[in-house]
Symmetry: C2
Subunit: 214 residues, 2 copies
Amino acid sequence: MTVCPDKNIVPLAVIKRLPMYYRQLRTLKEQQRVRISSRELSGMIGITSSLLRQDLNYFGDFGQQGYGYKVEDLYNIIGDILGIGKEYPAVLVGLGNLGRALINYEGFRKRGLVLKALFDNDPSLQDTKYAGLPVKGADRLYEYLKHENIEVGIITTPASAAQEIAETLELGGVKGIWNFAPCIVNSGSGIIVENTHIGDSMLTLFYKMKNAEN
Amino acid sequence: MTVCPDKNIVPLAVIKRLPMYYRQLRTLKEQQRVRISSRELSGMIGITSSLLRQDLNYFGDFGQQGYGYKVEDLYNIIGDILGIGKEYPAVLVGLGNLGRALINYEGFRKRGLVLKALFDNDPSLQDTKYAGLPVKGADRLYEYLKHENIEVGIITTPASAAQEIAETLELGGVKGIWNFAPCIVNSGSGIIVENTHIGDSMLTLFYKMKNAEN
DNA sequence: TAGATTGTTAATCGATTAACAATC
DNA sequence: TAGATTGTTAATCGATTAACAATC
């Protein structure tokens, strides 16, 4: 029952499925479900039960033969594996519509993302507050990072500004960058960059729609 | 040079990379680059040149031996493959922060997504306008869809409302659903559902950060 | 032409599925 | 115990990479 991630050999494909399991287990928990078999859970998600069991067994033996998995236990275990529960101090750069939407979504806060300050180039926003958080000029980002312990930098600027901001974040010592700008952000050294290109998924949708007509 | 998608046998893994190529080619086009080799383009993106050439060859022969690819031509070709240029009339349901952010992002409009109406349950919003678009009660969604030709339904409601909205969209005859609610949306018949779970990528980031420390 | 780079085949690698013994 | 379902191995399937002949 111990959570033991086999040193770095867990395939990324497996990791990417964990949040999906986590979400479905939360729904089940909210419905007061106590136990669930790999067959039923995988069916809800649209994968095979083999795949689900394989994935879980990268981290440990969490089930019980003839019984299945305890919903709440598995939910907590996957939460632990994902690093939920820990707090991640964060800054967000780029106070446009998407930035504001992310700031106001409580789900992130609930999973451990704690915003500490916001940055934007617009002079009219300098030294104001938004959602209770201080708004500073992007030129003061590096200085701020030097004095605070920030682990995550969120980029919601236009593409043109993203690379420079990423470099500043990296110099400032963040551990991970969550990039929403529609461009590839390169990290010099090996810090973690997670790209979320919302527009890409729209184009994937268009492609599928176009080709479903046949 | 003709765009010929080999009937439905293009792997999804390939499709998912096309928007990335498209984005990088746009950047190159903006920098006035005329030609590019598969080696250089793939390097910018962080994949092998083999993979890039394999991917493109699902759709046709767009390069020239000894020369490479013409940036602008390839950009346009990939745009065509993805279905950009065509217009997709759309509705958005759920006028929260994320919904508003999407409405105000011009990039979607540029690629062909044309919002026609917005829906929300909040009575104070009924029959107002937002960003020049009419806002209606979610209970009027089905009636609206019956009278208008809408192809895409965007769901930015809380998880609890998403499934019902999805069913209404489907009954109303949309071809594709772009779901941002943090839950799995099941389509009865086979309409296209593209899920964009922003929160999932945050959890993936957390996992990577947690395990990079070792 | 010589050099460069494609398109494409074959080899490798990794991820998914099937199957079943172990066991609750 | 009998039935159910896991954990895990082996088989399959699919995706990526390497290599190179074709050719611009």
